[in-house]
Subunit: 186 residues, 2 copies
């Protein structure tokens, strides 16, 4: 799924807008292990993963906590920083050699103003991310560590290949040790 196709699934994208977006958007190739956003910096770009895998994480009490993964065909950004223009508390790291599209905040705002119909994309996307976050909160609060792991195993087995145990564990809200014990019992 490429960027323009994704947008076309949400709104009609005119030829002019397509061209405009193509101009504003920059392709970026990153290597496995590369840090794309460092916490403390402002995250002023919206990324779209064309190929590869990204991880958003932060530190809590000196421990790395993975907040999200972005797989091919998904958006990625430090949402809080991107929206509020404040410094990011998250880091973004490439877990694989990846090809990204990069759209600066100011370009996006510009598009919003010049093509008001794009506000709809922003709204619909944000709504869908809200729903996902709500589901995540419910799952962290009311399901056991094992249920969350089993659920991920079913819903996103690809992730368990690309990311390592510690990343998955903190993403699921548990320690590495606990996840290892869960796996040991099949």
């Amino acid at each position: 799924m490429d960027f323009i196709h994704y947008l076309e699934s949400v709104i009609k994208v005119s030829g002019i807008l397509k061209e405009e977006l193509h101009k504003l958007t920059k392709e970026r190739i990153v290597k496995k292990g590369q840090l794309i956003i460092r916490n403390g910096d402002r995250c002023a770009d919206l990324f779209f993963v064309e190929q590869g895998l990204l991880r958003g994480y932060y530190y809590n009490d000196d421990k790395e906590i993975t907040n999200w993964f972005a797989q091919e065909g998904e958006f990625a950004t430090c949402f809080y920083s991107f929206i509020s223009k404040a410094a990011s508390y998250e880091n973004i790291e490439a877990l694989d050699d990846s090809r990204l599209l990069q759209l600066p905040y100011c370009s996006l705002q510009d598009v919003y103003i010049r093509y008001p119909e794009t506000e709809r994309i922003g709204r619909v996307l944000t709504e869908s991310y809200y729903i996902k976050l709500e589901e995540r909160l419910l799952s962290l609060r009311f399901t056991t560590a094992k249920e969350r792991y089993d659920n991920l195993l079913v819903k996103n087995p690809a992730l368990l290949q690309g990311a390592q145990l510690g990343h998955i564990a903190s993403y699921l809200g548990i320690t590495q040790e606990t996840l290892s014990r869960i796996r040991a019992k099949h």
Copy 2:
């Protein structure tokens, strides 16, 4: 803070749009204890609390879990149901005699289409609710029960008047018993 003033803080609201919104919006008076949305029903309205206090809650394992409170000047809806048109898993209850403004989903969609600049309100509002939810998740995950209570005490003392202990407790992600013990130690 009334509805129109709130909107005006986000975008310019033309006279025509104001009138339009006034026409589409219905005032609704509800009594303390009244159920406004029942889970299983679709929540097809966006509410704005002009006066009073609402509570959104759901059941998990036969236990009531308070998901949010909406105080004066705030919006309230079963977000998931409102966005997706699916049945709501939440209930909405008035914790006080309240005066609400009620805007139906279809009217809102209509406004979005006829006044594209309002998409911006939808987007900005959703963004701000996303950030709040993110903060909520972090707080549930990384702070102790006592820290969460102390924090609420500072940030929203009014809530501790209007709502009862059980509501507050499940909102903070703890049991009533635990919250009672926290309070006992000043």
